[in-house]
Assembly symmetry: C2
Homo-oligomer: 201 residues x 2
């Protein structure tokens, strides 16, 4: 008996291509799907197919869209002079929930990470530059994550924009103590940021 | 804009049903699939469908099988008087690789874990008892993992077999120092097991 039947090997291989899913996890997921009801397994397969058939990326901002443009880019009431740059489509939702932002978005599709082989070409950075050079925008808000990769991405974009479109304001989301946090338990990096970014009251 | 389009929500929900895949991971995997090429995403969907169409569980031992019985249960040269009980189909392969075992298997489909809601009814334990009561077998080797859940499962099965088929020998894989290990770096549980299980030389 030499390992698994070809369809099982194939499933383990395909699952293993997913980000963050290693060989052992792929095997565990494959066994789960093998044990799962026909109905549950097919529901997952169909959900993958359907999402690829029905959902694409917005041609303007690369957010998820069920047509050529996402609902935000199609909404004429949004402020077209503001563009908020985020890493993932999932970052748009928490920002929308704040009701603090009425501009549009630009979804990069990740963050720069040379160690993982993610270069500017892998993200929608050239598209952002072209979009801003197209005029109309007066401020770009960099809302990549306050992580090493998110900061590197923000810096790279800020440099590129300063060079190409010096008339456009480039801002970064404030970093500091989360609301409701206890200073005693704040990590030193966050506390350091809170000092650097202190404001007059 | 209220969260994601229905197909995206559906995909996140289906991915979230996989074991060990939480909400945030499901979302990350969904975005990955959305960005992936049509070809890659469809390959995964097809691999899931194909495995469900072509692979099932062996009617005797519940190992993976591309027919009613797995290749091991169909192999007449195997020793039918020995049954090795394992948690997952993935456990059969390393045992086969040792070439130390020529009996058949019984795949439970997991280990008892009340905390995760995995009871005897969720595993192929009743099927094991029925199989052993059917006669022919003289020894059952319990090869569940040397973990808390694996040990609990082995104990539960040993008790059940002692009650139902006292004439059948029930053994457990030896636990102790791995071959090539350095005693200095052994954890105390493993070292304790190595002492308890010490043998005359």
């Amino acid at each position: 008996v030499s390992a698994y039947a070809p369809p099982v090997q194939k499933l383990i291989a395909e699952l293993g291509k997913l980000p963050g899913i290693g060989g052992r996890t792929a095997q565990r997921l494959a066994f789960h799907l093998l044990r799962a009801s026909e109905e549950d397994a097919v529901a997952l397969a169909d959900a993958i197919r359907e999402v690829k058939e029905r959902i694409g990326l917005c041609e303007v901002c690369f957010n998820l869209a069920d047509g050529p443009r996402c609902r935000i880019c199609e909404d004429e009431r949004r402020d077209f002079s503001l563009v908020c740059v985020v890493e993932e489509p999932g970052d748009v939702i928490p920002i929308e929930r704040t009701h603090e932002y009425r501009g549009r978005y630009h979804v990069l599709g990740g963050a720069l990470s040379p160690i993982d082989g993610i270069d500017p070409d892998d993200l929608k950075i050239a598209e952002l530059f072209a979009r801003i050079e197209g005029g109309e925008v007066r401020e770009v808000v960099l809302a990549t994550n306050p992580t090493t990769t998110g900061e590197a991405t923000a810096l790279h974009i800020a440099d590129g924009l300063r060079e190409r479109t010096p008339q456009v304001a480039v801002t970064r989301l404030a970093s500091g103590l989360p609301v409701g946090a206890d200073l005693e338990y704040a990590d030193e990096l966050t506390l350091g940021r809170a000092f650097t970014g202190r404001r007059a009251v």
